[in-house]
């Protein structure tokens, strides 16, 4: 059983007072928009009495703080809120009699989107009772799952759990050391203790974290900060500790440590429903650990998922995280000729004949040009400090290689950019 309290035209002060009143009855309070809160009242039956006494007590305590509003009590949070928003005073709706109390409400009282509203209005649906008698399958088929949920609201049979506002739990821990710690291993021991405490707090609040911050107070009176952003919410203490270890190995503090502070940023946990028909993917925790190890080896800027930039500049890309949901790319009808970059590009000396490349000499590539196509002139970014302006050629050499070379303008220098392969 849930009670909803609604104060019409409540300002910030009234909202804060309302939250305080609700907290005197239950630590689990859902804030449902301005001036509205929902709280579970079933546990109060033994403490206060039947629903009408609970409602009177809520009303009395609200009045003590100068709040006057509506109270709705029902078997589910949504019906209680609907009653509180639309019926004056105290309304207690017994289980099973929801449609009797809310059936005459206008359809606009539901949190309905304009398109669905227009459709329902077009069908002549005016009240919640009209809406609730429509067939479930037809609504789901025609208007989708959101409308099916609205129909549950109209019938007063929605069964969603309460979404209480998170409690003000500090997700930060500090440990003052008696002796300076200069080695990573004992430091990790301390961090492990803090991490276990904080993740236990997260778990107790059904929360996870997506960022962790470490502050080390150094013996040199300096503060040393490290921050890790996780690509997914987690509360896996072991994995986060390993990531911290890798981070501190890569960036060790410059002096011994005298105090450790660890803070986690709470976020909603990740809920994933795997499908039988979706190919397996790397476990996010394992992948993040693996990527951290790889980034430690090749550099943070050299591992990720490539993204093409919206420019004509050759070789313009950026690296981002792997995408979990990717739109399907249509396959081209025929195989494409791939290109490979030389990194760095090879500076070359090119002999021209009739203004076309005839021979080329570079450090590892040289020979007579058998075929040449070009020049393809491209330029851009002239308004920036890094413009490009070049003439591209595709050439086939007598050594069997197919290369892309370019003349950088206006410096008139030749380079081999890469090979077709």
């Amino acid at each position: 059983m849930y009670a909803a309290i609604y104060i019409p035209s409540a300002g910030p002060r009234e909202c804060a007072e309302l939250a305080e009143v609700a907290k005197t009855f239950s630590p689990l309070v859902e804030h449902s928009g301005a001036g509205a809160v929902i709280l579970p009242v079933a546990p109060l039956r033994k403490l206060i009495g039947p629903p009408h006494q609970i409602a009177s007590e809520i009303s009395r305590r609200s009045a003590e703080r100068g709040l006057t509003g509506n109270i709705g009590i029902a078997s589910n949070p949504d019906t209680a809120l609907l009653a509180a928003r639309n019926l004056p005073g105290i309304t207690i709706i017994p289980r099973g009699a929801e449609s009797k109390y809310i059936g005459h409400f206008r359809i606009e009282t539901l949190p309905i989107d304009p398109a669905t509203y227009q459709t329902l209005e077009g069908w002549g649906i005016r009240t919640l009772e009209d809406f609730s008698v429509l067939p479930d399958d037809g609504i789901l088929e025609r208007l989708g799952p959101a409308a099916a949920y609205l129909q549950q609201l109209a019938r007063g049979t929605s069964d969603r759990p309460l979404k209480p506002a998170p409690l003000d739990v500090p997700y930060e821990g500090r440990f003052e050391l008696e002796h300076e710690v200069a080695l990573l291993e004992p430091l990790l021991f301390i961090l492990s203790r803090l991490m276990n405490e904080l993740t236990a707090r997260l778990e107790s609040q059904s929360m996870a974290t997506a960022a962790l911050r470490v502050q080390l107070d150094l013996a040199s009176k300096q503060l040393f900060h490290r921050e890790l952003q996780l690509p997914f919410p987690t509360r896996d203490a072991k994995m986060m500790l390993k990531l911290l270890q890798l981070e501190l190995e890569a960036h060790p503090p410059p002096a011994p440590v005298v105090a450790v502070t660890l803070a986690l940023t709470p976020v909603e946990p990740r809920i994933v429903q795997h499908s039988l028909y979706v190919p397996p993917s790397p476990e996010p925790e394992k992948l993040e650990l693996t990527l951290t190890k790889i980034r430690g080896m090749v550099g943070a800027a050299n591992a990720g998922s490539p993204r093409l930039l919206d420019t004509h500049r050759p070789g313009a890309w950026a690296l981002g995280p792997l995408e979990s949901v990717v739109a399907r790319t249509p396959l081209p009808g025929k195989p494409r000729l791939a290109f490979r970059y030389f990194s760095p590009v090879l500076q070359a000396r090119v002999e021209l004949r009739n203004e076309r490349p005839a021979r080329i000499f570079a450090q590892t590539v040289y020979g007579n040009v058998l075929e040449a196509a070009g020049p393809w002139r491209t330029s851009g970014d002239w308004w920036t400090l890094d413009p490009w302006d070049r003439d591209d050629w595709d050439i086939g050499l007598n050594n069997g290689g197919l290369y892309r070379i370019y003349l950088k303008r206006p410096a008139e220098a030749w380079f081999i950019e890469g090979a077709y392969d």
Partner: protein
């Protein structure tokens, strides 16, 4: 050797391996798929050939096929030579690609491949050793290849090694030797452009009598 002399647990393992059908990942090239059925999952595939022999075009085609199936793929790029634009043109879904740029360090590439193979979950891991100095690739200990083979065994991962000289040695279950047949420049001088190239993939292991040919079209 008499089968009765082999311990039963070893015999059952051998029999299982004989009976077990290896799942294949298509290459996206009909003639090649008809010849070799695709790249075996849980095995190493080696693609070898000189520059401009179609190694990378074949890799992009396989990557496109894997990403089309929604699989995550890793490209370990020893010499920073991967071109996302041409891969995208070939149909590769870049959001599914993890690209590791090793800056010319084959040792980093080998270690990254090892970490990814052990992390699991990838449909395809491509270790690109093309253009890496031969003096370095020749000295990759053979134990690494056995290690890769063991790591991906019994997983759906296709492990592809792209190389100029064969280095995966006996650990590869499929070895394709690449060669370019011809290149077509279209148009009349001076208005020519690179149109297409025809490549041939010769299966050396398992041996096939004739090569499979495919054409790759230029982007321009």
């Amino acid at each position: 050797m008499n089968a009765a002399a082999i311990p039963s647990h070893i015999l059952s393992e051998l029999q299982w391996r004989q009976e077990h059908d290896v799942e294949m990942l298509g290459t996206g090239l009909h003639e090649l798929d008809a010849a070799i059925e695709g790249c075996p999952r849980g095995r190493i595939t080696a693609i070898s050939g000189p520059v401009s022999s179609g190694r990378t075009s074949l890799l992009h085609s396989i990557l496109a096929e894997a990403s089309r199936l929604g699989e995550y793929c890793a490209v370990i790029d020893t010499m920073n030579s991967f071109d996302p634009a041409s891969a995208s043109e070939a149909g590769v879904n870049l959001g599914r690609i993890l690209w590791i740029r090793c800056g010319g360090h084959p040792d980093h590439a080998i270690k990254a491949a090892d970490l990814l193979a052990h992390a699991g979950g990838f449909g395809l891991i491509a270790l690109d050793l093309c253009e890496a100095p031969a003096r370095l690739t020749r000295h990759i200990p053979i134990s690494w290849w056995y290690r890769f083979r063991r790591a991906i065994e019994n997983t759906p991962t296709v492990f592809i090694v792209l190389e100029t000289e064969p280095s995966a040695k006996g650990c590869a279950s499929l070895f394709l030797e690449m060669k370019r047949d011809h290149t077509e420049f279209t148009g009349t001088r001076p208005f020519q452009y690179l149109d297409r190239a025809q490549f041939q993939a010769m299966p050396r292991k398992p041996m096939r009598p004739t090569p499979s040919r495919f054409e790759a079209h230029a982007l321009r």
